[in-house]
Amino acid sequence: MSSHATQSIGTDTRTVDFRIWRGNVEGGGFQNYAVEVADGMVVLDCVHKIQAEQANDLACRWNCKAGKCGSCSAEINGKPALMCMTRMDLLPVGEPVTIEPMQAFPIIRDLVTDVSWNYEVKKKIKPFKPRKPDNADGTWTVYQEDVERSQEFRKCIECFLCQDVCHVLRDHHKHSEFIGPRLLVFTAALEMNPLDTENRLADLKNRDGIGYCNITKCCTKVCPEHITITDNAIIPLKERVVDEFYDPITRLMRIFRPR
């Protein structure tokens, strides 16, 4: 049993200063709160404590408190992270903890942002289009090695931290030309599915702007589900786009051996 498990929660407390961004679409700023923090607390616990004791109107989105719903995304000490999965004992001691909303999406209020853009873009991606069933009873035969890659991508909890940290959206505001890592992962799960017959490569190159990704791997670093977004999803899609549009040899081969 680990040493953490044997500690009783609340036996050792310390006061931590928080700087929390308060405001709305018209503007705002950081406000300071001092919180008694006990062993085992996560950042979301502290935000709830502030809500309960000091700022009843502090807005924050949360649900499962277990790192599975993807609701409590924010920026903690400048890094995109889930508030419910960021332990207080892993943050620098003796310094104020900064919490602010995600920067790549419009502010609604305080720590809550409007992430509906992601859902709108997702609707435009061509949906799953399976081949004819393999078996007479209308089912398909699929082997584990064929779905391993997609299974990694299906772990996504849609917290949109990867979208938030991606500089193409965050700093360059290319929302109209680039769908971002989350939706590239979604597309990769479809494209690599052996049952799927749809071709999304032209959309990836033109409408979805996969070329805007310059492989910073920031999305991979912040993913709470540890999905290897860049290496396993985005770069393989980039290579498929190269096959389709940039590589003269593969283009020539398609003349003699069409799909």
Binding site: Q103, V121, D171, P194, I215, E239
Partner: protein
């Protein structure tokens, strides 16, 4: 909501961030590491001397050849390494223009590394600040003009797989050099098997470069990643898994092989200059 009508927060200024960790350390280390290699390799490439030990007295007796110069198409003027395919400096080489055998070689592995997916991400951060580090503000001038690899000139990075093809050929040349370094001409005029420190250095160089080259994202795609059906070929699936193992360590091999190839040149150079002695371990 329209994708282009979002009321987004104001973009932060250059280097602005609320991060409290040492976010600048990795790009700074990348900058120093890559600059050091670029400066040394450029200097070494233009030397046109001390790129081999031994001489042309017998096959395999040349012993060590710098990977920056391998394969040698033409020897530098006045030198006879025994490795040159076409003899000495070509007569068509413009008079007054500095000649070095490495100038025909280094652009190819250079292109492979320049277009490598790992290095791209690393030098975009370290050299272009695009971004300097994750969640750190970029130079304001770029702003909405950002083109990434979507448009010219960086769309040309898609040439990477062709650079890979050439890099694979180079692995065979370097493996041959490592093999040749295991043979020594004895007093009887015959070649005898042996191992020197230089043999180990050149062998280490090939192993590290192979780990880097065969962990390439393009190679991973070509050996199996481009197919949706992995169960259709066990060989394909096994190859994909093997390359994926290397690919997860691509950054590690990228740096180790960069250091390895630079050190190999330095080792051969110092042995050739007589500063170091290539100690024989076996044979």
């Amino acid at each position: 909501m329209s994708r282009s009508s979002l009321a987004l927060p104001q973009v932060r200024g250059f280097l602005q961030t609320n991060r409290k960790d040492l976010w600048w350390l990795q790009p700074a280390a990348t900058l120093v590491g890559l600059l050091a290699f670029i400066v040394y390799s450029t200097w070494a490439a233009f030397q046109g001397a001390h790129y081999f030990t031994g001489g042309p007295t017998a096959p395999f007796s040349q012993h060590l050849l710098s990977p920056f110069y391998s394969p040698v198409l033409w020897d530098a003027s006045g030198l006879e390494s025994g490795h040159a395919w076409f003899g000495s400096q070509p007569i068509w080489w413009p008079v007054g223009l500095l000649f070095s055998p490495a100038l025909f070689i280094l652009p190819f592995p250079g292109l492979f590394r320049f277009t490598c997916y790992y290095y791209r991400g690393a030098y975009y951060k370290a050299f272009l600040g695009d971004p300097v580090s994750c969640a750190v503000g970029e130079p304001a001038m770029r702003g909405d003009n950002y083109r990434g690899e979507q448009k010219f000139p960086l769309v040309l990075q898609n040439v990477h797989r062709y650079a890979l093809y050439i890099a694979i050929v180079f692995i065979f040349f370097l493996a041959w050099d490592a093999y040749a370094s295991l043979w020594f001409t004895g007093d009887d005029g015959l070649n005898h098997f042996g191992v020197s420190v230089g043999s180990l250095v050149l062998t280490m160089n090939v192993v590290l470069l192979s780990g880097y080259t065969f962990g390439c994202h393009c190679w991973r795609h070509l050996v199996g990643g481009k197919h949706d059906c992995m169960s259709c070929s066990k060989m394909r699936h096994d190859a994909y898994k093997g390359v994926s193992w290397l690919n997860t360590r691509h950054m590690l091999f990228a740096w180790m092989s960069l250091f390895g190839v630079g050190f190999s040149d330095l080792y051969v150079r110092l042995c050739s200059m007589g500063v170091w002695t290539d100690w024989r371990i076996i044979g």
